[in-house]
């Protein structure tokens, strides 16, 4: 692999720096850690050179900070304003012109000096500035907005010809070398040869005259603004993936056929696994408790069908992707309900403790995917003033929450009332992304205007549904690093969970079924279904997949959850659990890029991380085998939204490094 060094700046000559600082004392040095380079270590030599030049005179330099991607104004602003600059009279910046201009603007009251010259790494032999794409190749593009490549065999005359000629060579080339500088190839000789290979010929039929007014300043500034707005919308970072929700958005929730055999895992919640409370051969009814919660942070498990326990064995757990204990029940088709399932008539007057007990006993856990036991979440040790009901569903394809909001608005409001009563929260926000118009209108129609509930429509962006992002977005409160929403007085609950709480408290129904979206490619019956917990994935494939498609796991990738955060399934013997939000079938990419490339510090991962982290350092330390170092980059705050991984220009599997480092951080915290 040969990559071009694209470092954008070099230190100014020593005399110039000494001249600038002749009469200036107490300088604070900010240096940029550079972008677009092979990323192997953190340190950059420019600062040490600067010290050499200034003779390490500490009266002059009062401090130094190196900042990654200094031109990223959002993150750099925070970091610079956190620095103690009170002691310095001026600030010297080692970076390209962008960083200097940004710092000068930010610290308007302080003299800001540049210590570097920005250098053009542009043209291949040219008088024209050329820009590179994301990768560090030699090919350049001048961004002239009138691409000539169709006429010139894919070799750009603007960035390759020293004279920028568009209508053939100047005639001065000797032996294929440019007359301006004989170390360059003549662009037009290259063009001629390329066209010959393609069986084409350059003709002067269409004489090209370059329009130097393009791209107009107006167009550029409009586009810049448009991009700035798009990037900054709502919260820092994030992505705008193609939504692909149309396939199932209008499909009413249907009942999925009952499974013949249900595989009910005993670990369907965060915390300790439930203990089986039935034995082999026992007859069970729908809604009967078959697993007992083991401790406070745990949750009971109920049977979703009526029938006989035929085995208690280990199967591949769909979330952990390793074997875990499950109760296998054979359906007798009787669909007999457990007599304990009775509606609570007077639920409005039940005390808080009884309500929590009902929620716990009915096995309610967070249905957004994390499966945190709801009764724990609703018994926070701190005062809660706000409840956010999360109806964002920002993952592509998924529509389960959307359909619940459309079909069961009244129930959701009852559920909200129940939670509000338990928490004593004064304010409630129902957050819905603006691509779910029908849900927003329906909710507004049934909204009791006198209540403290407010429906907020949010501009669509991934990962809006992450609770920390939502809290920042709606309340402008920042959950502290390593903290929880309750630290800022907020509880975030998924709409699905709210509906399940309604069902548990009002109708007495335990959590034995949930809404999932089945969508993706090559499906005969995509849709939104009420699926019994424990329904094997095989049944779903059988029912929904278009069989003409052929071999399954070889050609298709199966994801439990959304296409971005979802967990790839390796076994069709796994089954639906409480945290299954959807079941997405995607064709495997035709080309699997065979190896990871080196990080070229393009900075995309920093640009998209909604938690404002620096994912590139996780891969750096991960590869070096020094996981402990990543802790200072707050790896524990990562919520694994995979934004960084999906934009990585070197295809580095960042998430595996992150998981590794989180584990390390976790174990070292314990120690």
């Amino acid at each position: 692999m040969s990559l071009v060094d694209y470092t954008k700046f070099r230190l100014k000559p020593a005399e110039e720096i000494r001249g600038t600082f002749k009469q200036i004392n107490r300088i604070f040095i900010l240096s940029c850690a550079k972008c677009y380079k092979i990323f192997e270590e953190e340190n950059e030599e420019e600062y040490t050179h600067l010290l050499d030049i200034l003779g390490e005179d500490h009266k002059k330099i009062v401090g130094h900070a190196m900042i990654d991607f200094l031109c990223n104004n959002f993150l750099s602003e925070k970091r610079i304003l956190n620095l103690d600059l009170s002691n310095c009279a001026s600030v010297g910046v080692i970076s390209c012109g962008l960083g200097v201009q940004f710092v000068a603007k930010l610290l308007e009251g302080k003299p800001v000096y540049t210590l570097a010259d920005s250098v053009q790494q542009s043209g291949n032999s040219t008088t024209e500035i050329g820009y590179h794409g994301i990768s560090l190749e030699e090919e350049k593009c001048a961004g002239c907005s009138q691409c000539y490549l169709n006429l010139t065999g894919g070799i750009c005359p603007i960035t390759n010809c020293a004279k920028g000629l568009l209508n053939g060579p100047c005639g001065g080339a000797t032996d294929g070398k440019c007359e301006v500088n004989s170390s360059f190839d003549c662009a037009w000789v290259k063009i001629h040869e390329r066209l010959k290979k393609r069986g084409e010929k350059f003709t002067l039929e269409s004489v090209q005259i370059r329009d130097y007014s393009r791209p107009s300043l107006k167009l550029k500034s409009d586009l810049s603004l448009q991009n700035q707005t798009l990037r900054g919308e709502g919260f820092y970072g994030g992505l705008h993936p193609l939504e692909k929700k149309g396939k199932t958005a209008d499909k009413k929730i249907e009942s999925f056929p009952e499974p013949k055999i249900a595989v009910i895992f005993l670990s369907q919640h965060a915390g300790r696994r439930a203990e089986p409370s039935v034995r082999l051969g026992d007859k069970v009814k729908v809604g009967q408790k078959i697993g007992e919660a083991d401790g406070f942070i745990s949750s009971p498990i109920h049977s979703s069908i009526s029938g006989k326990v035929i085995s208690i064995e280990e199967r591949i757990h769909p979330a952990f992707q390793r074997k875990d204990l499950a109760i296998i029940i054979e359906n007798d088709g009787g669909n007999k309900f457990d007599p304990l399932i009775q509606p609570y008539k007077d639920f409005e007057n039940l005390p808080k403790e009884t309500l929590l007990e009902i929620i716990r006993e009915r096995g309610i856990v967070g249905l957004g995917g994390a499966m945190f036991p709801t009764h724990v979440k609703l018994s926070p040790p701190k005062k809660i003033d706000t409840l956010i009901v999360n109806g964002c569903e920002c993952e592509p394809y998924l529509n389960g929450d959307n359909r619940i909001m459309i079909q069961h608005p009244k129930e959701i409001f009852v559920g909200i009332r129940i939670i509000q009563g338990i928490l004593g929260a004064e304010r409630v926000f129902v957050a819905v992304e603006d691509n779910k118009l029908e849900a927003i209108t329906t909710l507004n129609k049934f909204l009791d205007k006198s209540s403290s509930v407010e429906i907020v429509s949010l501009k669509t962006k991934y990962p809006q549904g992450a609770e920390k992002v939502l809290i920042k977005r709606i309340l402008d409160r920042e959950v502290p690093s390593k903290g929880l929403p309750l630290d800022v007085g907020v509880v975030v609950s998924n709409v699905g969970t709210v509906f399940a709480i309604y069902q548990a408290v009002v109708e007495g129904i335990p959590l034995f079924q949930r809404v999932i979206t089945v969508s993706g490619e090559n499906l005969a019956r995509p849709g939104n279904y009420w699926v019994k917990i424990g329904t094997p994935f095989k049944d779903i494939i059988e029912y929904c997949f278009d069989k003409k498609g052929g071999g399954f796991l070889e050609e298709y990738e199966l994801k439990m959850g959304g296409p971005i955060m979802g967990i790839s399934q390796t076994s069709l013997d796994s089954s639906v659990i409480k945290g299954t939000t959807g079941f997405i079938v995607l064709r495997k990419p035709p080309v699997k890029v065979s190896e990871e490339r080196d990080c070229i510090k393009c900075g995309r991962c920093v640009e998209v991380c909604p938690m404002q982290l620096y994912p590139l350092y996780y891969s750096l330390y991960g590869r070096k085998g020094e996981p402990g170092k990543a802790i200072k980059y707050n790896v524990e705050d990562c919520m694994e939204c995979r934004c960084c991984e999906s934009v990585c220009s070197s295809k580095i599997s960042l998430l595996s490094f992150i998981k590794q480092e989180k584990e390390y951080a976790c174990s070292s915290n314990k120690a």
Binding site: I134, C141, L149
Partner: protein, 211 residues
């Protein structure tokens, strides 16, 4: 930061009429700006036979493109023309890897301010090779003054707006305001030496630091 716009249909369609096409579509910078929907529409409206389509991110990465070309070699062989939707860098990479194929781009490329960094910004840097920001309070006259003036304003600005384009602010006005705020208006009396174009305009070939 390179962004693309689709070329007008009349520029492309005559070149490809009744030919067999293979399409390369770059998804790389879409979180920044890529007219994905326009591209989809453009492709849907094509009447020509499409023998295959490769969508990948970062078409500008030669190594990735090589693997895709290998995977789709049969279809590419069948195609008479390769259509590429990407910035100018991607098109050049594809053409250089498939030298005997006719490769057409469907996009015009332009760049956005702040291209060389990561975040799109309101200011720009032309990489002139001799930074003037020390004289101008940290606002670049080269990248932002359409006349690239180094020693003060041209005198044509009105109400702080540029005479070349009244939509953009006069950068020299901004410089004077900034220096006034810093109490360094005396900076304007220093004469800036003429620009050394040899540093900036005839560049060395790119340095290969990682052979």
């Amino acid at each position: 930061m390179l962004v693309v716009q689709i070329k007008p249909e009349e520029e492309i369609l005559p070149k490809i009429s009744s030919k067999r096409l293979f399409i390369f579509e770059c998804l790389g910078c879409q979180e920044i700006y890529f007219p994905a929907e326009d591209v989809e529409k453009f492709i849907d409206n094509l009447k020509e036979e499409i023998v295959g389509k490769a969508s990948l991110d970062y078409l500008c990465n030669r190594e990735f493109v090589k693997e895709y070309i290998e995977r789709y070699s049969k279809q590419i062989k069948k195609a008479q023309i390769l259509l590429v939707f990407s910035c100018g860098v991607g098109v050049q990479i594809v053409s250089s890897l498939l030298e005997d194929k006719i490769v057409y781009t469907c996009c015009d490329t332009l760049y956005l301010n702040g291209f060389q960094g990561l975040t799109v910004q309101e200011f720009n840097c032309d990489q002139c090779g001799e930074c003037y920001l020390n004289y101008t309070g940290g606002i670049c006259p080269i990248a932002q003054c359409p006349k690239h003036l180094l020693n003060g304003p041209c005198g044509g600005s009105q109400n702080g707006k540029c005479e070349v384009d009244p939509d953009i602010p006069c950068v020299w006005q901004q410089i004077v305001d900034r220096l006034a705020k810093l109490g360094r208006l005396d900076k304007l009396e220093e004469l800036v030496t003429p620009r050394n174009w040899s540093v900036s305009l005839i560049s060395e070939p790119p340095v290969k630091r990682f052979p």
